[in-house]
């Protein structure tokens, strides 16, 4: 291919050539990183919660009368909810995945440790494992004689009475792997507020209600405590039953006590949707920016290509008159664009890497995977070629007779 003449022509149009290169480089760098962030967000939105989301409902009611009868009210509520047709399991809980409000605590492997080993979230409530549809991978579920009433636990903790506190706990596989890498977690102990807790079971996954660091998203513990806070989780028999059951459950709860306020009533699919709304908005915005950038860059190439073709009309005519075919001319402009795009992509890759390093520092993003570089390069080559095709075809259409005019 006729690369040398192209290079010498480009040397005479340094500024314009430079502009195209820079534009392609910047576009390449930004689009690579933007697509990477989009991917990160999409993956995050796809996060496994560890619970049977499609069949779960969450209802929270507030202020159910005097504190003293909360326990019996909860039992009434649970019994009523269980009787709704289509309900398979119910539980009174303290927090739920994607619920955004969580209770967390530091735990220690050794009571003498000054700092906590890690910070994990505390789930509690009777019948949680079957209701949430969690998968037990080792050990056993919590049993009725493990359970304590939450109020007694709080009172016991204040009085430093170890007997009033739960002694056993379920943890997630992710947390077990972090605490005891490569070891069996069953039977092991950790310390919470100086009290030992024995791991009796491990569930495959259960994400935290609020996730501010994705690397610790599955550090969850389930304690055998009976909750009476008016927060209920219902598992339906089939996903299709959800809306009907939700309406029936809310009506039932209202019927039991007309004055209670329903704070929350939603399906877990809606909760997931809300939980990731920022990620979704950001991904949408980034997709928009990427498309706009690529269009702007392509239009820039079209504009400059047209200018060059118009400027070189006579030169093209002379070449045609001297025997160059239409495809020779077409290829000339395509090769020229390919050369500029290649330089731009090379610079762009270095820039992309640099931007990624910055993002790694400021936004705790992981390293850009290698696959982005070839994919980015190929897509920009294709866009460049498509953009230059129009002007190049117009160049190829220049008749040889132009050479003889106005000389």
């Amino acid at each position: 291919m006729e690369i040398l003449p192209i290079l010498s022509t480009l040397r005479r149009h340094k500024i314009t050539a430079f502009l195209v290169v820079i534009e392609i480089a910047l576009t390449c760098a930004i689009v690579c990183n933007a697509v990477f962030i989009i991917n990160q967000r999409l993956q995050r939105m796809d996060m496994d919660s560890g619970v049977d989301e499609h069949r779960l409902l969450h209802i929270q009611v507030a202020d159910i009368g005097a504190v003293s009868d909360q326990k019996s009210r909860t039992l009434t509520d649970l019994a009523a909810l269980r009787q709704i047709p289509g309900v398979s399991e119910v539980a009174s809980v303290a927090q739920v995945p994607f619920g955004n409000s969580s209770s967390n605590t530091g735990i220690k492997l050794d009571p003498k440790q000054k700092l906590s080993t890690l910070n994990a979230t505390m789930y509690s409530g009777e019948n949680m494992v079957p209701t949430f549809g969690m998968q037990l991978v080792a050990g056993r579920d919590l049993q009725s004689d493990d359970y304590k009433d939450f109020d007694d636990v709080v009172r016991g903790a204040a009085a430093k009475d170890a007997k009033a506190l739960p002694h056993v706990v379920l943890i997630t596989q992710g947390m077990a792997n972090r605490l005891w890498p490569g070891q069996q977690a069953l039977g092991k102990q950790f310390y919470l507020l100086d009290y030992p807790m024995t791991v009796v079971g491990v569930v495959k996954e259960l994400v935290r209600p609020s996730i501010w660091d994705d690397s610790t998203k599955s550090y969850s513990m389930i304690f055998p405590m009976r909750m009476a806070r008016g927060e209920y989780v219902i598992r339906t028999k089939t996903p299709e039953d959800r809306d009907r059951v939700l309406a029936a459950a809310v009506a039932k709860l209202k019927e039991i006590n007309q004055h209670r306020v329903v704070l929350k009533k939603h399906t877990f699919d809606d909760m997931r949707h809300d939980f990731f709304q920022n990620d979704r908005a950001m991904a949408g915005l980034l997709i928009g920016v990427c498309v706009a950038l690529l269009i702007v860059t392509a239009l820039g190439i079209v504009g400059l290509g047209s200018f060059w073709v118009a400027q070189r009309r006579r030169q093209i005519g002379v070449r045609r008159a001297l025997g160059a075919t239409r495809s020779n001319i077409l290829h000339y402009f395509q090769t020229e664009n390919f050369l500029l795009a290649t330089i731009g992509i090379a610079v762009g890759m270095v820039l992309a890497y640099g931007i990624n390093l910055l993002l790694m520092v400021h936004y705790e993003l992981p390293r850009l995977p290698g696959i982005y570089f070839p994919v980015g390069a190929v897509s920009l080559w294709i866009i460049g070629q498509l953009a230059v095709l129009g002007p190049a075809m117009r160049a190829a259409a220049v008749p040889p007779v132009v050479a003889t005019r106005s000389v």
Binding site: M282, L285, L299
Partner: protein
């Protein structure tokens, strides 16, 4: 001369409509994207109390028995410390604040019970933060001490319950207490909701909730603690409280103290007072360490909490890079356009036009593209802000174009296009007349 250049520019822009449209589009899209995000940054990073924020301070002591002098103190105060420092009255003004979810029961104007956020604070809150009243006014210092059952409500709630009428003297039923309304605020929307900012360093950039609306009901601090006892949330606890939601004298941090200090010597004095207080509490055995007291000014505190959401910052950078690419594009196109008219330039130069006038002519043309691009960019900015208002974020209702940003949109568009025109115009005015005339 300027009029003539405008004429020429118009003529030239009409000559090649596609190229002109491309340039206007590039400027418009670039300006639209960057002004949308910059407006959001501008709205979110502004001073919530202009002219006053430098006098407002946020003292911190660390009652956490597990804390250390080498660590930052907790973001909020324990009850004892907060009330002790408030009682000392060493600042020009001082306000304790705590937020809680309260149940507004059926009564005078309320049909069915609702849960709403309540701010409990002391009377200085209103004067210190320049909170505007529509009807009535703040309660008195006497009400603070006497734990009077009074309240100030926001314009929002007044519209909802009393259709915007003067509701001073009416009562609301908060849980089991009747409170008398003594004041109704004018619309008040500090951005961020600065007095509730805390814990930003644990939010990992997800700080959009700092831009929530103020609480609907404001009661005296100690009255609020009694009315809504059992429903208070801790920022953190170092031991379990004896009764959940009842945090007075608990091992928990959950109260904030804001002080106003009108000059530098008072600031130094108060700093010493806070340090002395911690040392005294340590001597009494209540604190385990006293070396990590802090007193940040309001803006320092907002900065420390990184109030600007991480995503907003990322978007702003992205938009600026996007504008840069659009500008590069425009530079290339202008260059192409101007140099294509080398013959015309040669003719003008040969007829006596100076380099400066050729330069000026092309800059006018570039500026015109900027003006048209700016107008479209302004429309795109309005569209962008409208899109942001549709987003489910706490600051959505704030996203509006104010006059400074409106002006800046046009200035930025014209400035950007002039910058983009600089290089092409400089090249154009260096065209050698004789050489061009020969090839005409």
């Amino acid at each position: 001369m300027f009029g003539y250049y405008l004429d020429l520019a118009f003529h030239s822009l009409r000559l090649n409509k596609v190229l002109t449209a491309l340039m206007v589009l590039a400027i418009a899209v670039g300006i639209g994207a960057s002004m949308t995000t910059l407006t959001v940054v501008h709205l979110l990073s502004g001073d919530p109390l202009p002219g006053r924020s430098q006098f407002i301070y946020y003292p911190q002591v660390d009652a956490d028995t597990k804390g250390k002098d080498s660590k930052e103190p907790l973001d909020m105060l324990d009850y004892q410390s907060a009330v002790d420092m408030w009682n000392a009255k060493r600042a020009d003004r001082q306000a304790l604040t705590v937020q809680s979810m309260v149940r507004l029961n059926p009564g005078d104007a309320v049909k069915s019970p609702v849960l709403t956020m309540m701010l409990s604070t002391t009377t200085d809150f209103f004067t210190m933060f320049d909170v505007p009243f529509r009807y009535g006014g703040p309660w008195s210092g006497q009400d603070d001490v006497a734990r009077s059952r009074v309240a100030v409500i926001t314009d929002d709630l007044n519209q909802k319950l009393f259709h915007g009428e003067n509701s001073v003297g009416r009562t609301l039923r908060l849980r089991d207490s009747d409170v008398r309304i003594v004041g109704v605020l004018k619309p008040w929307r500090p951005s961020p909701q600065f007095y509730a900012v805390r814990g930003g360093r644990f939010a990992d950039g997800d700080t959009s909730d700092f831009y929530s609306k103020p609480e609907n009901i404001i009661t005296p601090f100690f009255s609020g603690l009694e009315i809504n006892d059992g429903n208070f949330q801790q920022f953190t606890c170092w031991h379990l409280p004896e009764r959940a939601g009842h945090l007075v004298n608990s091992p928990c941090a959950w109260v904030a103290l804001w002080v106003q200090l009108n000059d530098a010597s008072k600031v130094a004095d108060y700093r010493r007072f806070v340090a002395d207080y911690a040392a005294q509490q340590m001597a009494l055995g209540r604190f385990t360490h006293a070396g990590n007291t802090r007193m940040r000014s309001l803006m320092e505190w907002l900065d420390f909490n990184g109030v600007l959401p991480g995503d907003v910052r990322l978007q702003a950078w992205l938009a600026v890079a996007f504008l840069a690419i659009c500008l590069l594009n425009t530079v290339g196109l202008l260059l192409a356009k101007f140099l294509r008219r080398s013959g015309e330039i040669g003719l003008r130069r040969a007829l006596g036009a100076s380099r400066v006038s050729v330069f000026a002519q092309y800059m006018v043309e570039a500026g015109m593209i900027g003006l048209i691009g700016g107008a479209f960019g302004w429309l795109l900015t309005l569209l962008g802000l409208w899109l942001i208002r549709q987003q489910p974020v706490a600051y959505a209702d704030l996203a509006r174009l104010d006059i400074p940003m409106f002006t800046l949109t046009f200035l930025a568009a014209i400035g950007a296009s002039l910058m983009a025109g600089l290089l092409p115009a400089a090249r154009a005015c260096r065209v050698v007349p004789a050489w061009q005339l020969k090839t005409l």
